[in-house]
């Protein structure tokens, strides 16, 4: 089914109910290669649920998710990761006592399907080590590489989080609140890291920090009560009266 041009991720009519509670309703979303989209919305709008539906952590109640034309709605999380759909966590979920280098080595090993290799040392593969070093350099983590990640500042941990996810060589990357909990003095690190992501990677940023969203996304989707309210360029969204009300009138009223 895979055509000469990759179609990326296509979500159609995606819904999720928990009992009688609808958290996602009839969501359509396209994420072609190179996309830089952001998903915003008030607390409880169903942003994280949507991310979990796309990555396969939650099964959808109805609707389809296609990736390069293939229906992946029924696949579990590991299977989707192997096809190239990856997500960073809202709350940093690293391997706390392992070093930065070991943290980043882990996904490289798994992507290369070496996870069941029992007799060769984990750091014994030159190709893997070179790749790990490249990621460490890309995120400027060199001086911290041998330190356990739980000894790092939170902003640095967020960078490890992104490096770890990028090590999977994903084609679709979902960043779930990449700047959550990061002091504003360190937010620029996150923005710069997002700007340095590979150009053909499809990126969806879920974020509260409007400043960050406007700097990294060229298309913004507004989610309210599980439904898409509107989608448009940052200028359109900034000028939309309903969105202004949500963020200025409603929230601070």
């Amino acid at each position: 089914m895979q055509g000469p041009e990759s179609k990326g991720l296509e979500v159609r009519g995606l819904s999720k109910h928990f009992g009688g509670l609808t958290v996602s309703e009839n969501i359509d979303l396209d994420l072609p290669p190179g996309a830089r989209k952001a998903l915003i919305g008030p607390n409880g709008a169903g942003k994280s649920t949507f991310a979990n539906l796309v990555t396969g952590i939650l099964p959808p109640s109805s609707g389809t998710i296609r990736f390069d034309g293939e229906d992946i709605s029924a696949l579990n999380e590991p299977a989707r990761v192997r096809r190239g759909i990856a997500k960073t966590f809202q709350i940093t979920t690293l391997f706390p006592s392992l070093s930065v280098r070991e943290n980043i080595r882990m996904p490289v090993i798994e992507r290369k399907r070496l996870g069941y290799s029992m007799l060769r040392a984990a750091n014994g593969d030159a190709g893997t080590e070179a790749e790990v070093q490249t990621l460490i350099d890309q995120f400027e983590l060199g001086p911290l590489a041998e330190r356990p990640v739980d000894s790092l500042a939170y902003g640095q941990q967020r960078l490890v989080e992104m490096a770890l996810t990028l090590a999977l060589k994903p084609r679709v990357l979902i960043l779930d609140e990449p700047a959550a909990g990061v002091p504003s003095s360190e937010t620029h690190l996150i923005v710069e890291a997002i700007e340095r992501l590979p150009k053909d990677l499809a990126v969806l940023v879920i974020e509260h920090d409007m400043d960050l969203v406007f700097r990294v996304a060229n298309s913004i989707i507004v989610l309210v009560a599980g439904q898409i309210l509107t989608e448009g360029t940052p200028q359109q969204i900034a000028g939309d009266a309903r969105v202004r009300e949500l963020y200025l009138g409603g929230a601070h009223g």
Binding site: T93, L94, I109, E110, Y116, S117, M118, A122
Partner: protein
């Protein structure tokens, strides 16, 4: 420093042979127990699977090796393979079910599996000898050269070499990609799923390998004592193995060896000095270690360094 510890342990094991030539049966029991606790370290210390039923695979290996020697072939090494296969199969089959569960349920299920095995061995009298135990095991010489003797010299060397080989295998495994992934699962299963790992299958693999090693430990018991009893499945055995591992320290392999040695030595000494109150000594020792050295005896050098330097995080 850690890399020299296995060599020191090996030297101690060789030295004890010459120091205590009349206690070889006891020393051999320690070696076999070290192997069981090592298998537990792989399952619990590395893969993070909470189990109180490691004796199930130990018992399966013991009965398999005993029956294999009686009915098929009395070669010791072939018997070890039989024990490993039995332990691995039991771990695989039970692990497929057990590892679907989480937390306390896992512990309960591991206990249940060992109990079921004990009951099967008890009921199948015609095959296993039931409560009388499996008797009549007569082993051929090891490699056709070394006959098992009354004093237990051959038994001791045989067990020591088997334990050393498996210790080395586990050291290699711990540093491999597979070992790293087990540490990853231990620290953050959610993240392992997010990097494309089926945590379930990875755990099943670790549990199966642990089962094979426990099976080898059981096979050694059967071959060296020439008897297999229902006690090989006992809950107490699983529980003591866990205490020994926690005493020594998890996830380091040599912690398993040190914990087992200290526990069994203390047990032996206390029980022979005071047959009525020895449990008190064991209990006090475990309490002291858990409170003062939460990471086990292997963390004692670091703790002492800290006390004498008087500083915090000296040198990191």
């Amino acid at each position: 420093m850690g890399r020299f510890v296995p060599l020191i342990l090996l030297a101690v094991a060789v030295g004890l042979y010459f120091l205590l030539p009349y206690n070889l049966a006891f020393l051999t029991r320690i070696l076999i127990m070290v192997l069981l606790v090592l298998s537990l370290d792989l399952v619990l210390g590395y893969a993070g699977i909470a189990t109180l039923g490691q004796a199930a695979m130990y018992g399966a290996g013991a009965y398999a090796a005993g029956l294999f020697a009686i009915h098929v072939w009395a070669d010791p090494l072939a018997g070890l393979v039989a024990g490993a296969v039995a332990g691995a199969i039991l771990a695989l089959v039970s692990g497929l079910v057990i590892l679907r569960a989480q937390g306390l349920t896992v512990i309960m299920l591991t206990i249940a599996v060992a109990q079921i095995c004990a009951e099967i061995a008890n009921r199948a009298r015609d095959i296993t000898g039931g409560a009388d135990g499996l008797r009549g095991i007569r082993m051929d010489p090891v490699l056709g050269l070394f006959e098992f003797d009354f004093v237990g010299q051959v038994g001791y060397w045989y067990a020591l070499i088997v334990v050393a080989v498996i210790f080395c295998f586990l050291m290699v495994l711990g540093r491999s990609s597979f070992g790293l992934s087990l540490r990853g699962i231990h620290e953050s299963p959610a993240r392992m799923g997010a990097i494309g790992v089926s945590v379930y299958w990875r755990r099943v693999a670790a549990y199966t390998i642990g089962g094979a090693i426990a099976g080898i430990a059981g096979a050694l018991t059967a071959q060296i004592t020439q008897l297999v009893s229902l006690e090989t499945f006992a809950f107490v055995l699983s529980a003591e193995a866990l205490i020994m591992l926690i005493l020594g320290g998890t996830g380091r392999l040599y912690g398993a060896a040190i914990g087992t040695f200290v526990f069994m030595w203390a047990h032996h000494t206390a029980a022979s000095n005071d047959p009525f109150n020895w449990l008190f000594v064991i209990g006090a020792m475990v309490l002291a270690v858990v409170f003062l050295l939460p990471k086990g005896l292997i963390s004692m050098p670091a703790a002492l360094t800290q006390i004498f330097k008087g500083g915090r995080d000296a040198g990191t």
